[in-house]
């Protein structure tokens, strides 16, 4: 910055790298991967491509599903009855996981967690945020969901039930938030932009700009 006098006493060394020694499981992953490549089960490019595909998934897919549900009552009914089939009808294949859509209403607010590990609808929402996998979120959101939601800036009134969904087995979940007031007549694409990742986990709600 031009106005900076730069007479302060700090050095300009870059922050230290974060690459410590490999952990047990990191070493195991590398060993297994290299063996599989050596045995020509797959190639290094297949591994790279698989990671690229996983990283390419984003919450935009989930937002499309929600916006569709907001604008098409028949689709919403189908989504609530069978989440996986409804997504497939939009060309979004969820693989072996079974999707359960849970709907926020005037009287119910839903929030998703996996207390056992970090089960997450990656096909719809992409890579989970770090906090979703953290023990603090997993332990606390089942125990004191309202306090956790408050820390996310989300105050749920006392006359709205908070319904936590613990994703412990073969189901995956997406929250269908309430469509914000003042969005009547909006195009689906414009609506989808309101539906963030955190809205579909249930730690916040869509806001009109």
């Amino acid at each position: 910055m031009a106005t900076e006098t730069h007479d302060h006493a700090h050095d300009h060394r870059p922050p230290p790298d974060e690459d410590g020694p490999l952990t047990y499981y990191q070493t195991m992953e590398i060993a297994v991967r290299e063996l599989l490549i050596e045995k020509e089960v797959f190639g290094a490019d297949d591994v790279r491509a698989a990671i690229e595909t996983m990283d390419a998934r984003s919450p935009a897919r989930g937002a499309e599903v929600v916006a569709h549900a907001w604008t098409d009552p028949a689709f919403k009914e189908a989504l609530m009855a069978d989440g996986s089939a409804a997504c497939a009808s939009m060309g979004i294949e969820l693989g072996p996981l079974r999707l359960i859509a849970v709907e926020n209403t005037e009287t119910v607010h839903n929030v998703i967690v996996c207390t056992l590990c970090s089960c997450y609808p990656r096909n719809l929402l992409g890579i989970p945020p770090d906090w979703y996998k953290a023990k603090a979120y997993r332990a606390r959101v089942v125990r004191e969901p309202r306090a956790v939601l408050r820390e996310f800036g989300t105050e749920i009134p006392g006359d709205v039930a908070v319904r936590v969904h613990d994703s412990t087995a073969d189901m995956r979940y997406i929250v269908v938030p309430r469509r914000p007031a003042g969005t009547e007549g909006w195009e689906r694409e414009r609506l989808a932009a309101l539906v963030t990742r955190d809205c579909m986990i249930g730690v916040t709600v869509p806001k009109t700009p």
Partner: protein
């Protein structure tokens, strides 16, 4: 295979503490709730974890618990709930 419990049935989670790959959260063991839905039949993860893939499938349920049942000092309205996925062999008819 026929599901042992129906939607709306009161069920109790077994208060058991076996070793292995268990998908029943500790905080739900011994708790009583209501079957919210039947999710279908799935491989038993306690067997799959050891590579045993040929065992019988287990009916999976979603059971709804009142927060005040799970946490006696729960700080929130009595209508707050948790839905948990539980395999049939972890459930018993509730006696209470």
């Amino acid at each position: 295979m026929a599901a042992r419990f129906a939607v709306g049935d009161r069920v109790a989670v077994r208060r058991a503490f076996p070793l292995g790959h268990i998908r029943t959260p500790y905080y739900a063991r011994g708790a009583v709730g209501d079957v919210e839905r039947i999710c279908g039949a799935f491989g038993n993860p306690e067997e799959l974890a050891f590579g045993r893939r040929d065992g019988p499938k287990q009916t999976l349920y979603r059971v709804r618990f009142a927060q005040t049942v799970l946490w006696p000092d729960y700080d929130g309205p009595p209508g707050d709930t948790i839905d948990i996925e539980l395999y049939e062999h972890w459930l018993e008819p509730a006696t209470e």
